[in-house]
Symmetry: D2
Subunit: 145 residues, 4 copies
């Protein structure tokens, strides 16, 4: 395969916290010299996606074949210290509540031991045809437990 590299992987820790590496590039920063405030939500979503992939869930397949998927209903973010160009960070992801058609996650972004921001997010499981909440299928529910 053409110029193949090692894939980017996250890691699941013993306390069921998943962690995923995030590198800060020019695209992430703004004229204040720090990461633009909306971009942290991108990193949160990358970590959630990789967490689901690590658990064996394929979102592209869920989207294309079954027209179902997790959609963010609510999220809250508190900024502790800004991230900067070239920073090597870790975004964590931990399920804190799992219900029939929704779940809550707590996510934290670290530069080594420095907390950059923390994020609480509520995801709802939706049928994308009618954009209405739908019961999480048992095979997916079991993976998330």
């Amino acid at each position: 395969m053409a110029y193949e590299t090692a894939p980017i992987c996250g890691k699941l820790f013993a306390d069921k916290t998943f962690s995923f590496p995030i590198r800060i590039y020019y695209e992430d920063t703004d004229a204040g010299g720090i990461v633009y405030y909306a971009n942290y939500l991108r990193y949160a979503e990358r970590a959630r996606t990789e967490f689901l992939r690590h658990l064996g869930l394929n979102q592209q397949e869920m989207l294309a074949k079954q027209k179902i998927g997790f959609v963010v209903h609510n999220c809250s973010i508190t900024y502790k210290t800004p991230a900067k160009l070239d920073d090597a960070l870790n975004m964590t992801c931990k399920i804190t509540e799992l219900k029939g058609a929704s779940l809550k996650m707590e996510q934290k972004l670290y530069r080594q031991d420095t907390l950059i921001c923390n994020i609480e997010v509520t995801l709802v499981f939706l049928s994308l045809n009618n954009m209405r909440p739908s019961k999480i299928p048992p095979e997916i529910f079991n993976l998330l437990q």
Copy 2:
């Protein structure tokens, strides 16, 4: 001037709510066919910037000359119904609390009378040299009242 157009303007309503037009382009959407969840925070920041500009505040000047500026400390967003490609929306912005070194705003995104999302944001006034909170100067405080 080369191919000049009318500038994009918002509007301040009698109840002190500022409103700013947002159009949804391909860049705003994702493979789910709806606006990507982090992008709503961009529109919120455009509306806040235009609100401050409307009040007579120039952020570029504050940033470049005085090394001061408002930074988001916390924000919370609840998604009600998704926005889609080509939507013509209005993002509102209203100050709900004004303190010595911080303020709170409530922001709502509408498609006509349909609420797309609402956002609560806490902004802290910072000295950008040391990234520490700083008293809002009286001339800026007065504009915000």
Copy 3:
């Protein structure tokens, strides 16, 4: 309607150049203090979309109902002088070549009379089901002439 504002409009000039206003926000800039180089392509696409809308073409409808649309095949951008935070710019858009299944446009971004960048783009008309070039339907072709 809730907090309604005037819509953002572009303008078609006598030489068949369309022009659309672009304002630069924090989201557009990077840690170098200038607009991030990829973002100019977003403004180009906004102007193209508004140009097509001005001509009476609805891309959302073409995408949803007919599964057809214009896709960028090639683009080339030359950066002349950087745009900065708070800049009020105009992005132009002019068809320079129109063929059966493709067209070329020249786009220029100006701050008053200062050229920020120029962009040449080749668009191909595609059937989105098979991602293959398709003849531009006569009713669309006529609008573009």
Copy 4:
């Protein structure tokens, strides 16, 4: 360190082509179901940054301490086949011309052996104080050879 993961690394091949892994997330895609056309330039810049880092160049330090840096003067991109959600790609980066104050790179994005797009970019070395071209310092020039 808090929830530490393996860093994301690229790889330098024997023919002096650098390759860097790119994963496609929701943030990268648009309502057409494919990667938004401007985002490929982000991946190109990530690969260039990691290439420079791999060679021992720290852009953040160049920017902050010496107020110098590489800026894109021109780039041209040809789209071959679209990338999609969840794709695992490799963006390559190879210097094809090195002059006193500028260099050219050829970059290609692959899904395994399938070419997604190719990009030609001309970078100019600038003094950021006056935004004027500046001779590439010998210690940097030597690293690039």
